[in-house]
């Protein structure tokens, strides 16, 4: 069982950080909504509030890891320029996609949108975590503040969904491959 270094980083970026961040939205949105109702605020204990703060900070860390690992580790491999005369573009995903009209829009729309919109999520979630931690259960009192927190959390979810979905499709049509081979486990012949 082997994996290349680039494959491993791509998995870490997409599944390790990105998918975990995406999965965490279900809990965060449900808890933020529950907390934002007057009844929920009364019922929330200090321990629950501390847990929510920790949960949101963990999401923020995952979000920033996702975008930085994507932009500065995986993306340079994706957009690498092949040497002149090379015909096998399998290690040059961007050029591979652009080489055919059947796949070029995966780059022109998919990657071009994904690479920028993904960054809205950590900015939005950092604000959500800060405001939630600062105001705690009192977030229900300034009604418009809780509306903004929920709206930005939903916007972060949408941005992450767009980036994640296009990331999965791009990795299917033009995966980032190459680099050193890491042997994970020997197998029977």
């Amino acid at each position: 069982m082997e994996i290349t270094a680039r494959d491993l980083w791509t998995v870490l970026h997409g599944m390790g950080f990105g998918a975990l961040f995406m999965l965490a939205f279900s809990g965060a949105l449900a808890e933020l909504y529950r907390m934002s109702t007057p009844l929920g605020a009364i019922q929330a204990s200090s321990r629950e509030q501390a847990l929510l703060n920790f949960y949101l900070v963990a999401m923020v860390v995952l979000a920033w890891f996702t975008v930085f690992s994507g932009a500065y580790i995986v993306y340079p491999w994706y957009r690498a320029v092949p040497p002149a005369g090379i015909t096998d573009l399998s290690e040059y995903p961007r050029r591979l996609l652009l080489s055919s009209g059947k796949t070029s829009e995966w780059h022109n729309i998919g990657m071009e949108w994904k690479e920028h919109v993904a960054w809205l999520a950590p900015i939005a979630m950092t604000m959500v975590a800060y405001v939630t931690a600062k105001y705690g259960r009192a977030i229900t009192r300034p009604r418009n503040m809780r509306s903004a927190v929920l709206a930005f959390a939903i916007a972060a979810f949408v941005a992450t969904g767009v980036a994640g979905a296009f990331g999965a499709f791009l990795n299917k049509y033009a995966p980032v491959r190459g680099g050193a081979t890491i042997v994970l486990m020997g197998g029977e012949q």
């Binding site: 200090s46 932009a71 949108w113 809205l120 900015i123 604000m127 009192a138 927190v149 930005f152």
Partner: protein
Amino acid sequence: MSMSQTRSNAEIPNGPGGAAILAAGIGCAAMGVLAFAGDASAPIGKALIFYNPTGALSGVTTLAIILWLVSWFVLNRLWRTETVEMVKVNMASFALLAVGFLLTFPPYMDLLQGK
């Protein structure tokens, strides 16, 4: 403890929260505006290459993060003891967030450029 904590949280002016919300909107809009500028203008796109392997994305994201953090710092200094009109802050923040989404969407970028 829970009552006193609720009371002390409730007494925090909404200014710092409003500053964080508006700054997040500014950061999102900056991401969109810079992405659009880099796409629409070759010289700007070239100037945004802070780190060659990542291309213009490096400059777009670095500058957007700086604008977000600086605006948050400034707004927080201005509003830390203030009570601000959250309706206006929210409307501005949602508009800026929409700008961020629209200007990072390639078909909309192309539409604005007449492509």
